[in-house]
């Protein structure tokens, strides 16, 4: 008994000293933190940043990443080999364009494969493998003339047969194609002659050309496809026409592409492009700063302003296709009243949200559609005006506000939880009683969004929308057509307006872009005024690269273009 007693004393003594150590540690680290942070010149300054980051990057050196910090290595020919090293957050799921799902991966595939058309940085559709096209009056037949003299990387000539082969695969139900719904209107592809194909549609579908310009519609070589079999997903040697071809994929580590020496267009500048998988944004940032990577996608958002001030670092951003908004359940209580919905739009200071919560990584929405989409029209803004908002609430019969819940996902969008809280505060400022409910699990959140009208819990909720095809139809139809209420579509604001329905139906059939633009301008005006959303902002897509690298272009659909890129000598 005496022994246990003594032991207990000792143990308790040890605990006490352990606690003392903890207290000391906490106090010391708190002081250290304060000191670093408030020191004149600031611990957050640029020079200290770079220095303190480099040891981190060497210690987190993952297998498969190069230990050298030089970009150019001596090739066997004696000439300097130009290698572009890009850091990405996720590994590829597949390298076969028809089966692709993810924008980041399409950024890789974009270098290997080419579709008939491509959307440029201004949203214009430009022929790529196509030379020209015309659409029949009824909007059902798209005749496309192909560019001549192109060969796939495996040597197979590019022609109408290859195009038909590709689209037959897209429509083949046995082939994995998650974006097949985009091609639902396609009935068949006809080979007219060696360099002419016809796409025959089941019904007029105006976004079809944009669909043809998407990564999924990249043309593949029938020869290599047959030879590779199941390997098309993982080792697609010679399958595309692009400026770079597949060389190697080390799972979870890197994907290596090499220059296609026989490319039909402007020859590639880099001998190799290597995509390194670095999941943690902070590590990606550190590797860029230490020179291990030339370029990274999606750096840690809160650090971007700091990176912009860092020497030898170039931060490029472009408004992406992702529109962010607060969905308003237009069939719920006070939110049925248009004046209340407008009041909510006036109550939120979008510019402050962007500046102070999103670190400037977004641009305000000036319409229902993003500015590069067909039919975009600048509309009178809902400028921040809490007084007007209160007035509108009073007019609608809610002078003392009402109780409302804002749902938000966590970590799905840039600063989603923070944005929802800030909006909650803005609504409290005009007299509403607001609860913010974060839903950490994304599938649960989607499930909530897609609940039918009689089961939905939604009142206000934060959502983003980035259609795989950046056409106004794809932005608006599923979100606002009355036939698309859950569970049939994504009209989770339960918006029901026969005029909008009619215009959206016309918009998808009309093939003359000018007429279409007018239709979507009209839809935008109605939706803007009716306010079934609190219109917020477009997120930026951000790339950080070394100042040695020049000519990198960003495209709004979260893509980068290196066709004009090179190293400064």
């Amino acid at each position: 008994m005496h022994v246990t007693h003594a032991r207990r004393r000792i143990r308790s003594g040890m605990q006490k000293s352990f606690l003392a150590v903890i207290v000391a540690l906490v106090v010391v680290s708190a002081f250290a933190g304060y000191f670093m942070y408030f020191r004149p010149g600031g611990g957050g300054g640029e020079t200290t940043t770079t220095q303190s980051n480099s040891p981190i990057s060497t210690s987190t050196n993952a297998p498969g990443t190069p230990a050298t910090t030089t970009t150019t290595t001596q090739g066997s020919s004696g000439r300097e080999k130009k290698v572009l090293r890009v850091g990405i957050g996720i590994d590829a799921d597949t390298l076969f364009p028809i089966s692709g799902t993810t924008t980041t991966v399409y950024n890789i595939m974009r270098l290997m494969y080419e579709p008939l058309f491509r959307v440029d940085e201004n949203g214009k559709i430009r022929p790529l493998l196509a030379e020209s096209y015309n659409v029949s009056k009824d909007g059902l037949v798209y005749t496309v003339k192909l560019r001549k003299g192109i060969r796939f990387q495996d040597g197979t000539p590019f022609n109408a047969t290859a195009v038909k082969f590709t689209f037959d695969k897209i429509m083949d139900p046995k082939m994995v194609c998650p974006s097949r719904a985009d091609f639902a209107a396609l009935k068949e592809v006809r080979v007219v002659d060696e360099y002419t194909v016809q796409f025959v549609l089941k019904y007029p579908y105006a976004p079809f050309l944009t669909v043809l310009a998407g990564g999924t519609a990249s043309i593949i070589s029938p020869t290599s496809f047959k030879k590779l079999g199941d390997k098309v997903f993982t080792t697609p040697y010679g399958l595309g026409t692009g400026p770079y071809e597949f060389e190697k994929w080390v799972r979870g580590q890197k994907i290596v592409l090499k220059k296609n020496p026989d490319y039909w267009g402007k020859k590639a500048y880099f001998d190799e492009v290597v995509f390194y998988v670095v999941p943690d944004p902070q590590t990606r940032e550190a590797k860029r700063l230490s020179g291990e990577l030339d370029m990274i996608l999606q750096p840690p958002s809160a650090d971007i302003q700091r990176l912009e001030k860092t020497k030898h670092v170039v931060v490029q951003k472009v408004l992406s296709t992702r529109v962010m908004f607060i969905g308003i359940n237009t069939q719920w209580g006070p939110l049925k009243d248009k004046r209340v919905r407008q009041a909510l739009n006036y109550a939120v200071d979008k510019n402050a949200l962007i500046k102070d919560v999103l670190f400037g990584l977004a641009g305000p929405m000036d319409s229902v559609l993003p500015n590069f989409a067909l039919g975009h029209v600048k509309l009178p803004p809902y400028s921040y005006n809490p007084e007007k908002a209160k007035e509108l609430l009073k007019e609608a019969g809610y002078p003392n506000g009402f109780k409302v819940t804002i749902y938000t996902p966590v970590g799905r969008y840039l600063f989603d939880k923070e944005v929802a809280q800030a909006i909650g505060q803005y609504l409290r400022n005009i007299g509403l009683q607001v609860e913010v409910r974060p839903v950490a699990d994304w599938p649960t959140y989607v499930h909530m969004l897609l609940a039918p009208k009689n089961q939905t819990k939604l009142e206000l909720f934060l959502v983003g929308w980035a259609p795989s095809v950046p056409d106004p139809h794809n932005y608006l139809y599923q979100r606002f057509h009355s036939s698309q209420m859950p569970p049939h579509g994504f009209n989770f604001v339960f918006y029901n307006n026969s005029e909008v329905d009619k215009l959206l139906d016309e918009g998808v059939r009309e093939t003359d872009p000018a007429v279409r633009a007018k239709i979507y301008e009209n839809v935008s005006r109605i939706l803007w005024d009716d306010a079934p959303n609190i219109y917020l902002y477009l997120q930026y897509f951000v790339v950080v690269h070394s100042d040695r690298l020049q000519g990198v272009k960003l495209l709004p659909y979260e893509m980068f273009d290196i066709s004009d890129a090179s190293f400064k000598s």
Binding site: H5, Y34, V410, G411, V436
Partner: protein
Amino acid sequence: MEVLRYLLRESKTGMAGLAIILAFISMALLANLIAPYDPMNAVLGDARQPPSPQHPLGTDELGRDLLSRIIYGARTTFLIAVSSTFTAFAVGTALGILSGYLRGAVDAAVNGGTQILLSLPGIVIAIIFVALWGPSLVNLIIAIAIGFIPVYIKLMRAATLQVMSMEYIQAAKMLGLSNLKIMVRHVLPNVLPVGIAQLSTDVGFAILTASGLGFLGLGLDPSIPEWGAMIGSAKNYIFVAPHIIIEVGAVIALSAIGFSLLGNALRDYIDPKRR
């Protein structure tokens, strides 16, 4: 009173723990009097300000006054921590005494359940519970409580077994008192001190568990100040505004230490060898 006298005389660390806890509790109770700002009021233009005369501890990521949030946060945080440990204490004590007193099938069943709960870390149990039934104050309290129950069962069962060998229990049995009466009148008072000592240590752990859940995004409305959720949100701003995570972290550590110190002192006080 006797406890207090003991603490004053014998245990400086225990007194320190008590002082820390009392300070936090009075801070929580007087929050509406002492907090300089509305803890929920986000002023975006003031976001991530370092400490200044206007905001002694600076502002958080949405421009809310951090001092006010820490003061009000004590309410939610302590409410969760104290209720969950007391729930666990109550349930665990009842089950522990039952199983130690009745033995046999009841004992086997309770022991089996305890083993299952013990095989999972408390935070995992809490995550599963909150994921299944959603985050609300009550659910959060129950979730954390479940993780703490097995300790009390084990503790109370062992104490009960010890008490059962005492002569006064035998006497009570011979007098023909009902089992319930014996358990409540004679076993409970004799095993309670053991549990109380454990209780005050566990409050500290419960604060950390609640913080962990808040950190994982399984907590409540993030506008409502709660220390764990606050530290979870602050981690994204560790380079831009390190003062947030440092201050909230220090407060959580301090309160956990306070409960821990008091718990240790109480254990020493209750220790029968001392008397």
